[in-house]
């Protein structure tokens, strides 16, 4: 039946000042949440967002060349600043390309908000073009994820996503946005307050436990503080440093904790674990009271569990209760924010009497220092890292890929500042380094950013050279070129009878300097320490463009100390010869 025109409800004019498309609400909300940069790649399902970005000037959109790189860049941006990283990708393959980056962020507790396009709600489930169940795919690798089904909820879902990503133990959150949600109009509310009754992380530690921890540390004969990435994520470096210095207790950091305690301080024992220092691993083995701060007793840290720090009474502070008592039994669990708990312990603790313990540690340090081999005619990998450390005065943001170069970079660069060491620890994602360095450099334009990468891992996302050139990102790429998948080769050499199956590139690597040239950027090569120094000095002087440095290093060098897999920390070896025994 036809309704007379006069009786039809008057349609609201679409230019109503109060009404915006979902895409516009998305951008307004991001801007309102303080987001200044997003890393993205367009496609059909997110075209409404790209259209809204076209004349928007509040938000900088960085066009990466691969969505995986986008997530790593957002991740690097976040690790350098503490702010959440934001990624935008289209439906289907756009979303699936983000998966490795999301899993990387999840394992290292990095706050990311990943926005993916989705096919319109009317066809979800129909195997529509470029449809993928990205909420299902990413469920185990996100802290929380959402499919927006009502545009009126879009804004609150986004606010929730940022709240969850950044509070408690941080982590990635994904929001899937069907195309019709981006086109439909709704009101932008601007309500900043977020309240999620089911999400209330414990912040303040339990006071009696804090008092017990303080007592144990004050009375300890051989105490040790073991600091993990939680101290960086929780921005507790100042608290940890003051505490350890006042009590004069030795400090070792995990791979993720590097920079939470300055390595220039006498209390620093450097990194522990599979490629940790001899003295850190021995201190862990022999200590009598262990204070774990935002660390999770990862298997690369503990070595064989029944040989791990057997005589210590353990105190564990962590914001995530599921990290406590997971691998190692703990006498004093403290669930809370390390930034609050450490000062609370500090207030009650007295410096323990531990001069004998220090004597023991000093003798370990004297007998088993980290070794940097040097030669005039070739570059040792350790020497390369040491020189980068010296030339940047320990003040650069170092971003690595995964492999031998990563472990040497962890050992031989002196980390004195937080958020200056960026690496994929938990997932060990090759390909992470270079795009993460781009993100870090964009976030911190006034800092030197050096990407120490391998010839293998760098090749996983070299497409990002175009991004670095386009945005004039002054990242310094230092390729430790050993013409092989060094870490794989090391394991094959030591544990598979030197059968180097598919791990040696030999002469099959590209000419990286020519590659830089093809992208229109500066590339330089060095094959001996003298050239290396010149190349590094030239590169560091360039402040407005990316530079690639190809360092040919000694190919056969292996990374030590090493705790062979299955061995206890104290069973670490320091050379190939020792390993064969």
């Amino acid at each position: 039946m036809d309704v007379p025109a006069t009786l039809k409800p008057v349609e609201k004019p679409t230019s109503d000042a109060q009404s915006h498309s979902g895409a516009e609400i998305l951008i307004k909300t991001l801007a309102d949440l303080g987001v200044d940069t997003i890393f993205g790649y367009p496609g059909g399902a997110v075209l409404p967002v790209y259209d809204a970005l076209f004349d928007n000037h509040d938000l900088k959109h960085v066009l990466v060349r691969h969505e995986q790189a986008g997530t790593h860049a957002a991740d690097g941006y976040s690790r350098a600043t503490g702010k959440p990283g934001v990624v935008l990708a289209t439906s289907g393959p756009g979303g699936t390309n983000t998966v490795t980056g999301i899993a990387t962020a999840m394992m290292d507790s990095i706050p990311l908000v990943v926005l993916t396009g989705q096919v319109p709600t009317s066809v979800i489930g129909n195997d529509a073009f470029q449809e993928a169940d990205i909420v299902g795919i990413t469920r185990p690798i996100t802290k929380q994820n959402y499919l927006v089904r009502d545009v009126n909820n879009l804004e609150s879902v986004l606010r929730e996503a940022f709240h969850i990503a950044t509070n408690g133990r941080p982590g990635p959150v994904l929001v899937d946005l069907p195309k019709d949600m981006l086109n439909t109009k709704a009101r932008f509310k601007g309500t900043k307050h977020v309240d999620i009754p089911s999400f209330k992380p414990t912040i303040h530690g339990h006071q009696p436990q804090i008092a017990k921890a303080a007592r144990m540390l004050s009375e300890a004969k051989k105490p040790l503080i073991y600091v993990g990435g939680g101290a960086i994520l929780g921005e507790a470096w100042k608290e940890v440093t003051e505490f350890a210095e006042r009590l004069n207790i030795p400090v070792t950091t995990t791979l993720m904790g590097l920079g939470a305690f300055p390595e220039s301080k006498p209390q620093s024992l450097g990194m522990l674990g599979m490629h940790g220092t001899w003295y850190a691993n021995m201190a862990m083995t022999e200590c009598d009271v262990l204070l774990a701060v935002g660390a999770r007793f990862d298997d690369r840290v503990t070595g064989r569990l029944n040989g791990f720090s057997q005589n210590s009474r353990k105190i564990h502070i962590d914001i995530d209760p599921s990290c406590i008592g997971k691998n190692v039994d703990v006498e004093v669990p403290i669930v809370g924010d390390v930034k609050r708990v450490i000062p609370a312990i500090d207030k009650l603790a007295n410096p323990p009497e531990i001069s004998e313990w220090w004597d023991t540690i000093h003798s370990w340090q004297k007998e088993h220092p980290l070794v940097v081999p040097e030669a005039d005619d070739q570059i040792y990998p350790q020497h390369m890292i040491k020189m980068i450390s010296e030339i940047t005065d320990g003040n650069a943001i170092v971003v690595t890929d995964v492999g031998q170069h990563q472990m040497w970079a962890a050992q031989h660069y002196q980390y004195n500042h937080p958020r200056s060491w960026i690496t994929s620890g938990g997932l060990g994602t090759m390909g992470f380094g270079f795009p993460a360095a781009i993100g870090a450099a964009m976030a911190c334009p006034d800092r030197d950013v050096v990407c120490i990468t391998g010839d293998g891992g760098f090749q996983m996302l070299t497409c990002e050279l175009a991004t670095a050139v386009e945005y004039k990102v002054p990242v310094k790429i230092a390729i430790m070129n050993n013409a092989c998948l060094g870490m794989v080769r090391q394991w094959q050499q030591l544990f598979f009878d030197n059968r180097t199956s598919y791990s040696v590139f030999g002469s099959n690597n590209p000419d990286f300097v020519k590659m830089a040239d093809a992208y229109g950027m500066i590339g330089m090569r060095a094959t001996n320490p003298k050239e290396m120094k010149e190349v590094l000095q030239k590169a560091m002087a360039i402040k407005d463009a990316p530079v690639l440095m190809d360092f040919s290093v000694v190919k056969e060098e292996n990374c030590y100390p090493m705790v062979p897999s299955g061995a206890a920390l104290f069973e670490m070896v320091e050379s190939d010869e020792e390993c064969k025994r």
Partner: protein, 174 residues
């Protein structure tokens, strides 16, 4: 659900109050599959309060494992409350429908067993009886054991649902 031998001593019943959405439900199941925890039964249904649901999980593991399960459940953003009913006084019920063959012994004997377990006969065919039994899991297990020799043609169990008793003192009203 798993083929490993489970010890009854380690059985835990967890009652989980969540926001009612399938993503949350999948997340919770994902904890069990992804992290390798045991899952014997699970029920999921709406709560009286709109938008909320209750998941009742029966699982196996030592105290440490169950504590870990508890913590992981708590970490799911949409989980409001996890109660381990194992060491609490609780009201627990399960329902089972069992089709038993009457070919060997005839109906009266099966019906006697049903009576003993306060089970109801809910369907009769020429060679089978369908029985409905309600009780705690032990009772349902026991009745199944007794019926097995006669030939169970088909069976469907609901899995446990449970709530904490208001009064946690000594009581015994079944």
């Amino acid at each position: 659900m798993s083929t490993t031998v489970m010890t009854k001593d380690y059985r835990h019943t967890l009652s989980v109050l969540v926001k009612h959405n399938l993503n949350t439900f999948s997340r919770i199941i994902g904890i069990f599959s992804g992290k390798g925890f045991e899952l014997e039964s699970v029920t999921f249904a709406s709560e009286a309060e709109p938008g909320m649901a209750r998941i009742t999980i029966t699982t196996y593991g030592d105290e440490k494992t169950v504590e870990q399960i508890n913590k992981h459940l708590h970490n799911v953003v949409d989980v409001l409350k996890v109660t381990d009913l194992t060491h609490k006084k609780c009201i627990e019920r399960e329902l089972a429908i069992i089709k038993v063959s009457t070919a060997k012994v005839g109906r009266p004997e099966i019906m006697l067993i049903a009576q003993a377990f306060k089970a109801k006969v809910i369907d009769i065919t020429t060679d089978k009886l369908a029985l409905e039994v309600t009780g705690n899991t032990d009772k349902v297990d026991a009745m199944i054991e007794v019926l097995k020799p006669y030939g169970i043609a088909e069976m469907s169990r609901s899995g446990s649902v449970a709530l904490k008793r208001e009064f946690q003192g000594a009581v015994n009203i079944n």
